[in-house]
């Protein structure tokens, strides 16, 4: 560990080492690599880290929430005297397990599920705090945790066969109208934009255009990340293009058009309306396939460039040709969702670093190619990109 740390410092060179930057590995507490890998990726998503540290600076003495624990951890890394080393994220993991029964064990979990849960929890913390600040009398009325929302959503029949479907993304689906007809409280909270929304929130709009009268109905969906299907020998660009589809609904599937007052053919389009400042792409590599009870891993080769734009943006999108830079990759190694290992690759200043629990290595960017996936279907085990973090390069 120590040898590795000093070697990293040597490799980067003391004159090259970015000022105020710390590369710290995270100790594994028994199958916690799914947590460590996501935390590292998030730590190196600059807007997110800045906001977390800002929170820490503003709230010195606070009751112990998950957000507070995360802020402590990030602060702890950011204020280390040494440039490299290891840290045990003990308090954070304990807190997370306490709050989330599902993760309260020593099993391997899905890093994506963790990411979704974490972002939602943080958002909850901020909202609770905002609400507490505004209305002190009404304060601790416990709001149903998001986890319950999710687990109930997962049970809807059309999502049972596909793991990690959109519903798992911690999305607040709002069918019917852009702001939904959820419970009053839910709507209130959703309308309040937190910085978590500002960073991760993507709005996907689904348009239904009547081919008879050309009237358009659209519904918006708020997502913290996009879960895309993977196909063999494709690029993430193609996966995104498949996510944003255009299809014609005709024949027996005709939809009722209010304007025409009859069943009509419709064109269905999915477009991205709001481009987030950090675009998180989840590759749906774990899928239930008919005859198997457990999800199988799709090791398909999906290439992802260091730069990205989204093609299918809606006409009213604010910044449709926003350019993204790859900031971090969470890599899954192994054969299945509940086994194997996670680590992350992040870009920090001019360097690419690999964070594998307590180990940190500087890598050549060409090494990323190794995590695109496999072109042969024979091998079951693979090291593949699983969650991609693209950060918007906005003109400053």
């Amino acid at each position: 560990m120590g040898a590795n740390a000093s070697q990293l410092e040597k490799e980067i060179g003391s004159d090259q080492f970015p000022a105020n930057e710390h590369y710290f590995g995270l100790v594994n507490f028994g199958n916690t690599c799914y947590i460590n890998s996501v935390l590292q990726a998030l730590y190196f998503c600059k807007p997110f880290r800045e906001k977390i540290l800002e929170y820490k600076a503003k709230n010195k003495r606070n009751k112990e929430t998950l957000l507070a624990c995360l802020a402590d951890l990030f602060y702890n890394i950011a204020t280390q005297k040494k440039k490299v080393g290891t840290i045990a994220p003990k308090k954070f993991i304990a807190r997370f397990r306490k709050e989330n029964v599902k993760f309260d064990n020593y099993m391997q979990h899905d890093a994506h599920e963790f990411f979704v849960q974490l972002i939602d929890s943080i958002n909850e913390c901020i909202l609770e705090k905002q609400q507490a600040g505004r209305n002190r009398q009404q304060q601790p009325q416990i709001i149903p945790t998001n986890q319950e929302d999710i687990s109930s959503e997962t049970l809807t029949p059309d999502q049972q066969n596909i793991l990690n479907d959109v519903s798992l993304n911690g999305s607040n689906t709002a069918p019917g109208s852009p702001h939904g007809q959820q419970q009053q409280q839910g709507t209130d909270r959703q309308q309040e934009n937190t910085w978590v929304h500002e960073i991760f929130q993507a709005i996907v709009t689904r348009e239904l255009r009547c081919l008879n009268c050309e009237s358009v109905r659209s519904t918006d969906e708020v997502l913290n990340n996009l879960s895309v299907e993977v196909h063999q020998n494709t690029s993430i660009t193609h996966c995104l293009r498949c996510y944003f589809t255009t299809e014609t609904i005709s024949a027996e599937n005709k939809v009722h058009c209010d304007n025409c007052a009859s069943l009509q053919e419709h064109q269905k389009r999915t477009r991205l309306k709001k481009l987030p400042s950090i675009l998180v792409l989840h590759l749906k590599r774990f899928q239930f396939l008919g005859q198997f009870n457990r999800p199988l891993k799709l090791s398909h080769r999906v290439v992802f460039p260091l730069e990205l734009r989204v093609f299918d943006t809606s006409d009213d999108a604010v910044n449709p040709d926003r350019l993204y830079d790859l900031a971090a990759i969470v890599v899954h190694c192994g054969t299945g969702i509940n086994r194997g290992h996670y680590f992350s690759i992040v870009k920090s200043h001019r360097f690419w670093l690999l964070f594998d629990d307590d180990l940190v290595d500087k890598i050549d960017p060409s090494y990323i190619e190794d995590f695109y996936g496999l072109t042969s279907e024979i091998q079951k085990s693979s090291e593949t990109g699983y969650i991609l973090f693209y950060q918007a390069r906005d003109p400053t």
Binding site: H231, S235, P305, R309
Partner: protein, 471 residues
């Protein structure tokens, strides 16, 4: 047998990405590296085992060129440095005067190889550019990259004129098929290059290859196609990618000439008119060109004359001004009467629908030509804003025509890494080391499948689409 940069890799330690003989030279070759540098070597000079000391020779926006600081000439003769991102491929123009370089930073850069001037550039929509090639007449440069797109750049207009979307992953090789490109003759009759004609061409390049007495790395695209006074009207382009797809595209010349930025620069059409082929004039004095083109708008006869005097198609570098004259005449002819483009309609199946609408554009822009000729020109050679989307170097998706492939066919299980068009076949290579040779269809097959006036124009597409004919 000689080696360069061997031993301690004193010249460059990173991997070699592309090597080509410098056309027209007996002993020079250019070699690009992952480091973002290209080196010009002379194979008659031995590579000494001492570290080269460079001195700056020439500098431009985004590049610098160095020579070795020695009394005697030594290898490398020059080092071209294009930043620290890998150079992925480069290609000399058919006239061998220009060099197109694509790199991982997403830029296509076009240099005048001899004067070492950067004369144009464009950018991928995003991600690195992987491959590049020139149209057989040197008018267009096509590159493919990590945005899954083809980017088509016009030499004369110095801008991206179209993009091609059809690949599902990164595009690894692009190549023009000179044998199925359609050419218009000076009398306005479109003629597909006959086999006999082709064979002549082929032989001539082979011969020139022998003269040079070099390994077959030589960029042996038939350069002489245009020098017979023929004008390409529909280019056939092939591309392969990591998606295991072979895509074939028809690039219709008059379609590519449409100005897509309606409000800003409908003028570009007029510029193309003045130099049907890339003009030397433009490179040296862009301001004088703008003067020219304004003039041209006023009098079209003047226009032809100008083109003769001031421009020479790079593809016919050695040739006489007669060629240029014919080419320009031909062009004016074609624009005058739509006889030819009517025939094109029948022939090009992919763009027939679009073409009809694009003819409208053409008429529109023609009427606008005179008024805005000057301003259109101003925008073209500015490299300052090249990185930002929405410029002529990187138009937004809705600012630029998007082409679809004529044919798109999965031809393997591994990603494709090579594509060569030959007279009788198409050769593809893939990552697992297999090389496939695909038969071109016989004339009979073409006649049966196509109702187009000239059966031989049917192209290679059909059998491939039907399942492929492997040899």
């Amino acid at each position: 047998f000689k080696t360069f940069n061997d031993g301690e890799r004193l010249i460059d330690k990173t991997k070699v990405t592309c090597v080509r003989w410098v056309p027209g030279s007996v002993n020079q070759f250019l070699c690009s590296h992952h480091s973002g540098n290209m080196y010009l070597y002379n194979d008659e000079l031995i590579c000494t085992q001492d570290r080269p000391h460079y001195q700056l020779f020439k500098e431009g926006e985004g590049f610098s060129i160095y020579t070795c600081k020695t009394k005697t000439t030594r290898n490398p003769l020059y080092r071209w440095s294009l930043g620290d991102m890998a150079i992925n491929e480069f290609a000399f123009s058919p006239c061998s005067k220009f060099l197109a370089v694509v790199s991982q930073d997403g830029f296509l850069r076009i240099f005048n190889f001899d004067t070492m001037d950067l004369i144009g550039s464009c950018r991928s929509y995003y991600g690195g550019l992987i491959c590049v090639c020139w149209s057989p007449d040197g008018r267009y440069v096509v590159c493919g990259g990590e945005d899954d797109l083809l980017t088509i750049w016009s030499f004369s207009e110095r801008r991206v004129v179209a993009r091609g979307a059809g690949h599902k992953s990164w595009v690894t090789v692009v190549a023009f098929d000179p044998y199925t490109t359609l050419y218009g003759e000076m009398d306005g009759v479109v003629m597909h290059n006959e086999e006999s004609y082709n064979r002549n061409n082929y032989n001539s390049t082979e011969r020139s290859g022998k003269v040079r007495n070099k390994p077959p790395i030589i960029n042996s695209r038939p350069n002489s196609v245009v020098s017979d006074g023929l004008n390409a009207t529909c280019y056939r382009l092939g591309s392969v990618g990591q998606d295991t797809l072979l895509c074939l595209w028809d690039l219709k010349d008059d379609y590519l000439r449409q100005s897509y930025y309606r409000p800003r620069s409908s003028t570009v059409v007029s510029n193309v008119g003045s130099d049907g082929c890339p003009s030397n004039n433009t490179i040296a004095h862009s301001s004088s060109l703008s003067a020219n083109s304004t003039q041209n708008c006023n009098k079209s006869s003047n226009h032809v004359k100008d083109a003769n005097n001031s421009t020479g198609p790079p593809s016919a570098l050695s040739s006489n001004s007669l060629t240029a004259k014919l080419a320009s005449l031909n062009f004016v002819d074609r624009r005058g009467g739509d006889k030819t483009s009517d025939k094109d309609h029948k022939r090009s199946m992919s763009l027939a629908g679009r073409n009809s609408s694009s003819n409208l554009h053409k008429k529109d822009s023609r009427s606008n030509n005179c008024s805005s000729a000057a301003e259109g020109d101003v925008s073209s050679p500015s490299f300052g804003s090249k990185s930002s989307v929405g410029t002529s170097q990187c138009p937004r998706m809705d600012e630029c025509p998007l082409l679809e492939p004529l044919v798109s066919k999965k031809i393997g299980h591994e990603r494709l890494t090579g594509l060569v068009f030959r007279e009788d076949c198409i050769v593809t290579a893939c990552q697992d080391g297999c090389i496939h040779t695909w038969c071109r269809p016989g004339k009979q097959a073409g006649a049966a499948l196509h109702s187009s006036p000239s059966p031989s124009s049917a192209g290679i597409s059909q059998p491939l689409a039907a399942g492929g004919t492997v040899v």
